[in-house]
Every structure is written in structure tokens, then in C-alpha cells.
Subunit: 104 residues, 2 copies
């Protein structure tokens, strides 16, 4: 579908992509983390897109198996949610993923 092509394009063209919801604290945490790392993520707020929001969330589930937010991609690769991203950061692996993706 056109929306699915849109998602794939977004993920491939931006080093860091976060599908988020504005009022969700887990989404806020992961957005803050990247900002502290000096990275400007491409953020899509699913609750601000009217009916497209749930449609995108379904597409992401089909593409990644994950139906929750936040949904994080680095260098086109699916990373996971807030927990997974924070875990990678604590292991020291996030910054190398970011430099590989040309983002820091």
C-alpha cells in the first residue's frame, strides 16, 4: 500500500526514526535519550495523524512484529521500544549503532 511504502521510505531515509505518541511517557523517555546523545530523531506522532495513526501502527506491526509505541529504527534497522533502546544504551552499543547510521 502507499502508506506502507511511505513507512519504508521514512525508515530508510532517516538515520533515527521514532514512531511515538505525544502523551506517552515511554515515548518521551526515548526521545529525550536521543536528544541527550546529540541526535535529532525523525519523529512521527501517531496520535496527531487522525485515522492514519492506527493505520501506521498496523503497518509497523506487520513490518516489525511490534504493535506498541515507541517504535524505534536506527539506520533502517528495527531496534524495538523504549526498554530495548535503553538496554542497548546501557550496554554501550547505542552510540556505535548511531555512528554506523551516520547520526553521531
Amino acid at each position: 500500500s502507499r502508506l506502507e511504502e511511505n513507512v519504508k521510505k521514512t525508515i530508510s531515509e532517516n538515520p533515527v526514526v521514532i514512531y511515538s505518541k505525544t502523551w506517552c511517557s515511554y515515548s518521551m523517555e526515548v526521545k529525550d535519550l536521543f536528544k541527550r546523545l546529540g541526535v535529532e530523531p525523525h519523529i512521527i506522532e501517531l496520535d496527531e495523524l487522525g485515522p492514519q495513526g492506527p493505520q501506521l501502527q498496523k503497518i509497523l506491526e506487520r513490518l516489525t512484529g511490534q504493535h506498541t509505541v515507541p517504535n524505534v529504527f536506527i539506520g533502517g534497522r528495527h531496534i524495538g521500544g523504549c526498554t530495548e533502546t535503553v538496554r542497548l544504551h546501557r550496554k554501550g552499543e547505542l552510540t556505535s549503532l548511531l555512528s554506523e547510521a551516520g547520526s553521531s
Copy 2:
């Protein structure tokens, strides 16, 4: 209002009350914390109450100044959200609040 009286009654009659949303990870974290402490909180899932959900959330804001979930009360006293509850626990103060409230 009758709904507001309901809220005050719920808070005064239950040692631990959590106003929550089922799909919210911060709400899940605070519910898990109390369960780990061997406490059975009285849980109100605001997203499962149809139009009453947002109405209750407004009442809670009027009563506590807090419009977010989770909204936690111990022994009738407003504690705060997930962050505040976890902070009290790390300071070792949560268990004493709970025993004062007759909950552990």
C-alpha cells in the same frame, strides 16, 4: 457531583488506589511495584470506562492538580504518578506509608 463523591469514597475506603490505563507502561510499572511489595491495589482502568474515563480524569485533576496517569493514592493521601511512587520506594519511604495505611 456524584462521580466526585465516588472518587473521594474510593480513595478513603481503599489503602492503595491507582487510577490507570491498561495499555500505559508507566501504569503497568506502578501496578507491578505494588504487587512485588505484596500489596493488592484497588485499580481503576480509565480507558475501560467509556465516557466516564475522561470525566474521572478531570475530577482527579481538580482534586490533586494531576491530570496524568497513573494517579496513586495511599491511605487516602495523594502520592503522585509513577515517578514519585518509585522515588518514594527508592528512599525506603513507601513501605512505611503502606503499613500506616494498613496495607502491609
